[in-house]
Amino acid sequence: MNALRLIDKVLARFEGWLIIALLSLMAGLTFVQVCLRGLFIKAHVQWANDLMGYLDWSEPFVRLLVLWLTLLGASLVTTENKHIKIDLFSSILPRKWLPVRELIIAVVCVLICTIMSYVCTGYVKMEMEFGGVMFLNLPNWICQLILPVGFALLTFRFLLRATEQSIKVFGDKRK
């Protein structure tokens, strides 16, 4: 249990830094693009256009970053259990039922995320064989790698949560 929590912490720190790096890249590159385009279109600066030619990979790249940030962000939200949900019963259900509810929900999440990791892995494998390329001759499957990785992270988070909740639910009996 403690080992799981430690892994969770280390992962979260790594995800945090990755998010910071990727968002900075996204904001920076988009800003540079806007400035160059503005310079070329409004002021007809030739070198701005040349530079844009070198940076033609940046547009698909930042679009890809949207997906990466989404999955990394979603994974971090899971650590705090703050996913968007419809919550009608928190105030109505008796307090002692809450851990049971949380456990059931966490187990369902683990199930769905496991299926998703599996399906996404298959998808990436298929792309590896197919061998399409995106910007900068980067193979498609590397760009898509975040899908199985992201869902694997989510699976791990929900698994951790399910374990914690089951200790809450069943822990009493061992005492």
Binding site: G16, I19, I20, L23, S24, M26, A27, T30, F31, Q33, V34, R37, G38, K42, E59, V62, R63, L64, V66, L67, L69, T70, L71, L72, G73, A74, S75, L76, V77, E80, K82, H83, I84, K85, I86, D87, L88, F89, S90, S91, R101, I104, I105, V108, C109, I112, C113, I115, M116, V119, C120, G122, Y123, M126, C143, Q144, L147
Partner: protein
């Protein structure tokens, strides 16, 4: 078997299953029932990486979180106080206007109540506004700026429905003004009735407050001007906004520490983005299944038999959306419901821009609707009051907003006048 699982899933979603899991599970069930491979799910989620518009969401969210940090809210309140404070019920007007402004910038995520509520509630109470009046006003004002650029719900609506985001921004301006203006009139009326003290207008205070807020006030104007002059798209405007806000927070106000605050703000804002966009990904997969299974067409046929007129459709739409709005937050509601409603509305000859405005107005109201409107809970924890008291406090404002909603819904000209000017 499928039926039992579907019912089970619905129960789980109501019990509090994270929505993206629920939607993914629904897509899986549907695909399984029609014996299609699950591979279409990751293909659809990967579409998140192929839409230039979506880039605006993380960038604007980041800019909004940056603005919420530090003294922006205090400067805004001071400025609008110097501008409107002299009116009867002036402080109420101040609260409504600055909240609407802040909501537009931060994207209706409950930040408004958290950032401005703590500032405005003590001020209102100390000027002898009724407690319930103040609470109701601040709670509802958390969802009033939805129609103004660069509101995130508008961008998301534009993406999901395929309507031009620039057009939606234009269409939302007048209805947005109305939704802020009518509660303002109410505040003026109550202020006069209670005979509250009215500070006189001070030119010196106005200019000093203006100078202080001069860096932040024009941000929405910059965005509108940039988009409509054709200088930048919504996405490019987002990148420029981030750069500008970073500049003023670091260089002008010196209230943002690069090492300490920035990483935290980035992480917090991206958690918000992750939470919304993962639902978007799941919703794309689910919608793809729905369309493949001809579900919207079937609903359309069903509704056509039941509803004859446009007005009938609009009434049902309003009721349905308020119901949705008080169960789901605005982002997931847009993602799940819009693809179903858009073809229906087209059939009844409702302008897509007008539909977008109605949609946002409805969902904004749903935020304040008992029993589960999100604003009520945020306000309850922020102001440390029982939710039941907030139900009562928001009621008059809720009625006013519903009145405004009717006006917006049954007077299409209000929404379509400004976009009409743009396209000759």
């Amino acid at each position: 078997m499928i039926l039992i699982l579907t019912i089970l899933l619905i129960i789980l979603i109501i019990l509090g299953l994270p929505l993206f899991i629920g939607i993914l599970a629904a897509a899986m069930l549907g695909l399984y029932a029609t014996q299609i491979q699950f591979t279409s799910i990751p293909i659809e989620i990967f579409r998140l990486a192929n839409a230039p518009v979506l880039l605006a969401i993380p960038l604007f969210t980041f800019a909004g979180y940056l603005l919420a940090h530090g003294g922006t809210s205090a400067r805004l309140v001071r400025f609008s106080r110097s501008l409107f404070g002299w009116m009867p019920g002036g402080l109420g007007v101040v609260a409504l206007v600055s909240c609407a402004f802040f909501t537009a910038l931060t994207g209706a995520t409950g930040i408004t109540i958290i950032a401005l509520g703590g500032l405005l509630l003590p001020a209102l109470i100390s000027e002898k506004y009724g407690e319930n009046f103040s609470l109701g006003l601040l709670t509802t004002s958390g969802s009033l700026g939805l129609h103004f650029p660069p509101s995130l719900p508008i961008i998301l609506y534009g993406f999901v429905s395929g309507v031009s985001i620039e057009g939606l921004f234009m269409a939302g301006l007048l209805p947005g003004v109305l939704m802020v203006g009518i509660p303002c009139l109410f505040s003026v009326y109550m202020g006069r009735k209670w005979g509250l003290a009215r500070p006189s207008f001070s030119g010196r205070e106005f200019f000093s407050a203006l100078r202080e807020a001069a860096w932040e006030l024009p941000i929405p104007l910059f965005i509108i001007a940039g988009i409509y002059s054709g200088f930048s798209t919504a996405t490019e405007a987002a990148a420029l906004t981030v750069a500008y806000v970073l500049f003023i927070k670091i260089a002008v106000f010196r209230e943002l520490k690069l090492g300490g605050d920035l990483p935290v703000i980035i992480k917090e804002s991206m958690k918000m983005v992750g939470g919304i966009m993962i639902i978007l990904g799941a919703a794309l997969a689910f919608t793809n299944y729905l369309v493949d299974a001809f579900i919207p067409t079937r609903i359309l046929e069903l509704m056509e038999g039941m509803i004859e007129t446009r007005i009938g459709f609009l009434i049902i739409l309003n009721l349905f959306l308020i119901l949705v709005g008080c169960m789901m937050d605005i982002f997931s509601a847009i993602l799940v419901v819009v693809p179903l409603i858009v073809p229906l509305a087209a059939k009844f000859g409702i302008d897509p821009l007008h539909l977008g405005v109605i949609f946002l107005a409805n969902l904004g109201i749903g935020y304040n609707t008992p029993p589960v409107g999100l604003n009520l809970f945020i306000a309850s924890s922020r102001f440390d009051k029982p939710v039941v008291q907030l139900y009562r406090a928001t009621l008059p404002f809720l009625l006013l907003l519903v009145l405004t909603l009717l006006l917006i819904t049954y007077w299409p000209g209000l929404s379509l006048f400004l976009p009409g000017l743009l396209t000759p």
